[in-house]
């Protein structure tokens, strides 16, 4: 088994996919770092101060002004109200929600990329893991060895899991190092508020507590990694089912993008919460952001994702061991 995994790993590294992913991440991080830098700069110019309290107060005032507008959907109003209360809570307790520095940037970057960007990166690897063997014709060479088919697939799957953990690590490392050049490397121990719960559109602060930023980051990474594994497994299944890599990728891409769109508009279609793609933003539960559909909790999202994950895994293994290869 270990040899099979080594073999798969070797193939993966030879294809230089991880390098490409690393470059993509680096470019995006640089882009966002610049955008963030510009934003900070603009704020300073507008307020004439770098004082985060004044800036936060201004954000609160802006939200209050937007709430005053009558042309606004109820969902959006509710979300804004929750954000407003949260920010007021930060301000009242004298905690900076965006402590400047590389760790905060890393947190922001990981949280925002958990539902689209990281799944896309995972897809790059996952979606041709099996299908490329078909298109290259090397599948026959692989299957004629005296090894059980499920072992071959398992070794591929484990390679995928290893690659995912590499990708997550690269996202973390690159966003930390590159943004630190501009924002500095301080803030690993900055306090973060977690434990906001939302019940019926209201923000409940009774469970709120402080966590150090590095702990919060570790939790974020754990959740993001879980999401990446689920998406990776689905793409892996497609790669088994569909022999053309491009078609498999297209299906997965469509699902992911529709998830991003759906999250913004499904609040009235309740059964949409059983789709995997609206459940990808797990980090929102830690931050107390209102979920896209009322009634969704961390537990329900995890169960839905687990179900999809298990189903995809079963399908891939059954199909791969049964199918005819010619």
């Amino acid at each position: 088994m270990a040899n099979l995994i080594q073999n798969e790993m070797m193939k993966l590294l030879a294809r230089k996919r991880l390098l490409v992913i690393g470059i993509i991440i680096a470019v995006l991080v640089l882009l966002f770092t610049y955008a963030q830098y510009k934003q900070v700069e603009e704020q300073r110019e507008k307020l004439g101060t770098t004082d985060w309290r004044a800036a936060l107060q201004q954000q609160i005032i802006d939200i209050q002004n937007r709430l005053g507008s009558s042309r606004m959907s109820d969902d959006w109003r509710e979300q804004l109200q929750i954000t407003l209360k949260q920010q007021q809570y930060y301000l009242d307790h004298n905690i900076n929600p965006t402590e400047p520095g590389a760790p905060s940037f890393m947190r922001m970057f990981v949280e925002n990329s958990s539902d689209l960007f990281i799944p896309l990166l995972v897809m790059i690897i996952a979606s041709d893991l099996v299908s490329s063997e078909h298109s290259l014709g090397s599948i026959k060479l692989l299957l004629t060895r005296p090894v059980k088919r499920w072992k071959i697939l398992l070794s591929k799957y484990i390679t995928l899991l290893l690659a995912i953990s590499m990708i997550i690590a690269m996202v973390g490392l690159l966003s930390y190092i590159l943004s630190g050049i501009v924002f500095g490397y301080k803030g690993m121990n900055a306090p973060i508020i977690t434990g906001f719960t939302i019940s019926e559109g209201n923000l409940d602060t009774s469970e709120v507590r402080l966590v150090e930023q590095w702990k919060f980051l570790l939790m974020d990474f754990g959740l993001v990694c879980f999401v990446a594994v689920v998406v990776g497994t689905l793409a892996f299944m497609l790669s088994v089912l569909i022999r053309s890599t491009a078609a498999g990728m297209g299906v997965m891409l469509a699902a992911l993008i529709s998830g991003a769109i759906l999250s913004n508009m499904v609040s009235s279609w309740e059964s949409a919460k059983y789709l995997f793609m609206v459940n990808l933003k797990l980090t929102n539960y830690l931050n107390g952001v209102a979920p896209p559909i009322e009634g969704m909790t961390l537990f329900s999202s995890l169960s839905v994702l687990l179900f999809w994950w298990a189903a995809a895994l079963v399908v891939s293994f059954v199909i791969f061991t049964k199918e005819d290869v010619y």
């Binding site: 004439g48 899991l161 702990k215 537990f299």
Partner: protein, 257 residues
């Protein structure tokens, strides 16, 4: 090499995941964190002129397509005159009434900003009196006087709170104008607005350093030229006229340390 590294990382992420779920679902008995946070709130210090603007949509600048409003224009003017940077905190909220402002000036951060202010600009009362035009639809002298006495109480409380936070800064309090002056009942509404302004001015006179700036006359003769299309808020020209009145009143000498 790469394989074992990624195995290690995978274990790390799994630990993080387990921790996140556990942390989310385990009860935390020590709810409040009021006693844990101990980073001192420093007073804002600075050499530059600091303006804090409080109030309703006029402070916000609603109706001015350039988004500046009279606060932005005043700032621009003062900046030009004194030739240095001016710090502005615009805390105006659309539709704010005196009751809401009374709550706002009690907030910790607002008090801190007020304490650092050299000049405070204030517009309030329009939403109390007109209530989006409702007051005029079913006009009743009794209702108006009731609104007025409520407003006066709130205003006193607001001024008292501002003075508690900052007893030096000059407060420029802008009076109301009558946006409905050219409508049928223009005479009557004007009378109401004049009386309202008179009482507000009296209230402000009880405190030190409050300058009541009338705006009634600005909009008296050609109101429609200076109002936005909603016929309630000033337009760009209207705001300019207000700003031209306020800006010269702001005095500023280099702070001596």
């Amino acid at each position: 090499m790469v394989t074992s590294l990624s195995v290690l990382l995978g274990i790390l992420w799994m630990a993080g995941f387990g921790w996140a779920v556990q942390d989310y679902y385990v009860e935390h008995s020590d709810g409040g964190l009021d006693n844990k946070v101990k980073s001192p709130v420093k007073n804002i210090e600075g050499q530059e002129l600091t303006i804090v603007a409080l109030g309703d949509s006029l402070t916000r600048g609603t109706g001015d397509e350039t988004g500046k409003g009279y606060v932005g224009l005043v700032t621009q003017e003062v900046k030009k005159r004194i030739g240095q940077e001016v710090k502005v905190h615009n805390l105006g909220i659309n539709g704010q009434t005196s009751r809401e402002l009374r709550q706002q000036v009690k907030q910790k951060e607002v008090r801190r900003q007020l304490a650092a202010a050299d000049t405070i600009l204030l517009t309030i009362g329009g939403n109390d009196l007109f209530r989006g035009g409702q007051t005029l639809l079913d006009y009743n002298a009794g209702t108006v006087s009731q609104l007025q006495s409520q407003f006066t109480r709130n205003l006193s409380s607001i001024f008292a709170d501002i003075r508690k936070a900052n007893d030096k800064a000059t407060i420029f309090y802008l009076g109301l104008y009558n946006p409905f002056i050219e409508l049928e009942d223009g005479k009557q509404t004007s009378q109401v607005v004049r009386e309202w302004n008179r009482q507000s001015e009296e209230t402000s006179a009880a405190f030190n350093g409050i300058v009541f700036v009338p705006t009634f006359d600005i909009f008296q003769t050609s109101v429609n030229d200076y109002l936005y299309t909603d016929r309630f808020h000033p337009n760009k020209q209207g705001y300019r006229l207000i700003a031209e009145r306020v800006a010269p009143l702001i005095k500023w000498e280099e702070k001596q340390e």
